[in-house]
Symmetry: C2
Subunit: 570 residues, 2 copies
């Protein structure tokens, strides 16, 4: 393609609204343009990359035996009512009425539609298993769209669904998809981890993994072992259970003792004033679980993992209590709550049980207890893993490693749905013995447009993007230094045609611009290989530059094709 | 692909809601499934065909130098207000509010978005011309969705837009697209005509052509010459102007004469009662044009072309007058209106002027005039082409041909928009002399999903669909007669692998079904070539059947690959 005919406007400055580098660079390099909050136009270069991602996804889905279909974006509200999600989903679900006042949802996901489809099409075990997918624009009215394509309101997704006659079948489908995802993200050139994840609002039994592209701006935190391949979303990651390390209560013979701590409400204040460490503290937080107050107790240096607590309680609504609610539930001003003597249910984290002595609120203004020995002094009817893991925690899966925390961008998700939707929507089949059974489902998503952001976060330098060969909008950027020099243009045109004839995608910068402008644009756009046709053209030579390494080689024109194909195949 | 793993359910009976054969067959053969009125899921076979159409469209757009982008489906209402279409578009435009009560439209088309995009990106003539396209799901809340994919509410479209610095540039872009469309529809294997069309509601100056797939169920009528390549939508088609055939008023020397026609209100009644021909009648209809009454006069056997009248009058609102309005405007009961003596404006069609003697209403209950000689007796201040052409009318473009009427399905549309949107949205550029100019636009649509219906309408028999090679969901249908026969299965599997290795798309019917069921399904699905592996497999032979002709040949296994490739290349 000739650059003069391409809609490609580069910007020298980053637009103010772009907070992260992938968003900045995609705007600056003319890959995307903002239309409304969380809605972007993919410009020709961005569209080309998007299509390459689509093609890789499609290849691997086909290879995994999945059939492609395309469901409507508009979904009748009735189906969402059948599944019970119409009320639950909240304002992220965009709702619309047609001219006859029938209600529709703009699909953020398609469990309802596909389950109702398969329920109508399949009635026998002989038609199972089934794996179906689509690549489609989805809609989610995010409360706070941001980071460009990372959290947008209209985005491209691959969603796949499996239907099986048995749980073993689901397991097989799940791991088939898991492996396909590995291949997809590897082919895309991403640095990623598959992590154990929390089942979350989508519901259902069984396992789930998230595929995370590692990046500092990621909205998720991942804990990964330094030795083995254990990795989990922070929501889900477990510290090693160290039963044998439980404190021996006999080690602490000091009696629990109330002391005056006027105005010391926070861990920081206590640590500073008493010259202790946060891990010597016992922290108590009050939550409202389905409108009932409960206390959660963790070590002073630990954070409550609300997802874990919510799951253990099995509550629908779960949120931190307001100061007023705390006072009302405990009779104590916040800052002085402690586990001893509370009348509301108390949930204690394992790590607290392992302490032999700690400082905790005394449920009385300006007083704390010291020498609190949990196994001796606390109500331990409810003990569980209730905290976030920390960097350095021992790995729960191997003996040697410890956990390290990373930030990640969720690019994929595999999920054992079980019978959540098939039960509600009545997707059943007759098994070999003629019995009616409920289909067992899995769902599998990939954020196709998100992958662009993830790649750019992982592949850029101060001058711009650096596209991996597999996703680059073009494979070669051809830059004649002077379009007015007929020899240079002749050489450039010949190479342009020759390379295209061999299936190489070439962008030819045929604009009348200064070389400096062309090089700056070329760095920004980040096509992996650049061919510069300059003065040396009269000696039959051009310069070949690799974007990632800045390696330059001057080579003969007759060697260009061979060398380019070498570089692409690398 | 193995049929046992494919979501493909065929139906023996046509679902009641399907009125036309393409809709019936696509449902019966499991290509699409109904989700809601005018909304369909493309099942795996349908999706494959759709992708083939997409690929042909993409190829030809790229070849025509168009750049692909992808704009959001959700469009801010503000842009539609800028263009003035937000109010005008009516209930077909689906409107939705986001969580902040901002209004959006679900795009039925993208003139506003692309014009605002290009206005921001392009400021100099040096960046023009530009041609941009996308393939995208569109939404249009049809009052009466029907015929399956032919008139649906969510559909796949290719929309392209050109931006030029001059009208000559637009002309060039227009014809480039025109030629690309010719190639696209030819490659799809469609029987189509490019027809001159009316500019319609989308507005703008200059030419427009529709590409029509010929089919009896088409919603449009086309007039095409039997000799030359003239073809036009009935809305637009003109009869030849026959100045020399104008009646010689001296031929009719009878004086105009009122006579009693009690109760004879319609052409049919007059024809029967007076033993005359409809073409001896002069028909007068009263319309309300922007709420003002006017009369339109055509020959008794002709139909008023309301589109033509509306354009000539330049009126916004145009509709037939009610009986009450007729009486009020003319003082005469309907059925006896005539052109002579009316006080409202009278518009007369050319063909009436050519009459030497006719019968017309006398503007008095139960009376008509006979011997009406239009050139002598009528007010001919407003004469124009106001009628639909008829089968047999002489061609307006050549001397020999006559017009024949066909029904057509609109599959594509090229349109010179001019400055309609660029003016309203302020899309301007600096020309070579530094002057500010308005960009000149064209728009170019293809109904991608519609093409499926058009193909099936043109390619089917009583047993099912007959896919042309270029769009077939698979190229070969492999049918082992008995999957329990290990020799047959071995031969089938070997051929399956061998053909796929050579890039041939094969659907293997590996189901345990009776041969009759398999053949019926195979006919219905309409894959162009069938390989039947039966008893002859033990002698190294298979049967090869062409779906379209039912031609059968028994050939040796070693000749299959060569023969299949031959058939595909045909």
């Amino acid at each position: 393609m000739r650059q003069s005919r391409l809609l490609l406007t580069t910007l020298r400055e980053s637009p103010a609204e772009a907070e992260v580098v992938s968003h900045q660079l995609m705007l600056r390099a003319g890959f995307i343009r903002h239309l409304a909050a969380g809605m972007y136009t993919y410009m020709p270069l961005g569209r080309r990359v998007l299509r390459k991602v689509e093609q890789i996804v499609r290849d691997e889905m086909d290879r995994a035996g999945a059939g492609e279909l395309l469901m409507p974006a508009l979904q009748p509200a009735e189906l969402w009512q059948e599944s019970g999600r119409y009320e639950v989903y909240g304002p992220e679900l965009m709702r619309i009425q047609d001219r006859h006042d029938r209600e529709f949802a703009l699909g953020p996901t398609h469990e309802e539609v596909i389950t109702s489809l398969v329920r109508n099409e399949v009635n026998s075990y002989r038609k199972l298993p089934l794996m179906l997918y689509q690549i489609q624009t989805k809609f989610r009215d995010e409360r706070r769209p941001r980071f460009g394509l990372l959290r947008s309101r209209e985005f491209l997704m691959k969603d796949a669904y499996s239907f099986d006659a048995s749980w073993e079948g689901l397991d097989q489908a799940y791991w088939t998809m898991f492996k396909a995802y590995h291949r997809i993200f590897t082919r895309c050139g991403l640095n990623f981890r598959a992590v154990e994840a929390d089942a979350g609002a989508i519901g259902g039994e069984g396992g789930t993994h998230e595929f995370m592209a590692l990046a500092d701006i990621g909205e998720d935190t991942i804990a990964a072992c330094t030795c083995c391949d254990y990795a989990a979303n922070l929501e889900k990651a477990e510290p090693r259970r160290m039963e044998k390390l439980y404190s021996n209560p006999s080690l602490n013979t000091d009696k629990m003792d109330k002391f005056h701590t006027p105005g010391l409400r926070t861990i920081d204040q206590l640590v500073e004033s008493l010259q202790i460490q946060p891990q010597d503290m016992i922290k108590t937080l009050v939550y409202m679980a389905d409108d009932q107050p409960i206390a959660v107790v963790v070590r002073g240096d630990h954070e409550v993992n609300e997802v874990k607590v919510k799951h253990i309680l099995g509550s629908e609504k779960f949120e931190i209590a307001s100061s007023d609610a705390v006072s009302k539930a405990t009779g104590t001003p916040s800052g002085f709550i402690g586990p001893c003597g509370l009348t509301i249910p108390v949930w204690v984290d394992y790590a607290v049980v392992q302490m032999s002595s700690g400082i905790a609120g005394a449920n009385e203004l300006d007083y704390h207890y010291r020498h609190v020995n949990p196994r001796r002094d606390m109500d331990l009817r409810h003990v569980a893993d209730l905290r976030n893991v920390m960097e350095g925690d021992p790995c729960p899966h191997c003996d040697k490693g410890e956990l390290k925390l990373h930030r990640g961008i969720e690019i994929g998700h595999v999920f054992k749905l079980g019978t959540k939707y098939s039960e509600k929507l009545g997707a059943t089949f007759l098994d070999a013995s003629g019995e009616n059974q409920t289909m067992i489902m899995g769902c599998y998503g990939i954020g196709v447009s998100r992958i662009l952001s993830a790649i750019v976060e992982q592949n850029h330098d101060q001058n711009g993007m650096i596209w991996p060969h597999a996703l680059a909008p073009f494979q070669v950027h051809m830059i004649p230094i002077s379009v007015k020099d007929s020899l240079q243009m002749q050489v450039a045109e010949d190479l342009y045609n020759q390379l295209q004839d061999h299936g190489v995608e070439v962008l030819m910068d045929d604009r009348e611009e200064r070389p400096g402008v062309k090089f700056k644009d070329s760095d920004l756009v980040g096509i992996p290989v650049r061919i510069v046709v300059g003065k040396d053209a009269e000696h039959g030579k051009i310069e070949l530059v690799e974007r990632r390494t800045s390696n330059k080689e001057t080579i003969h024109i007759q060697d260009v094709e061979r060398r380019i194909l070498e570089l692409i195949q690398q």
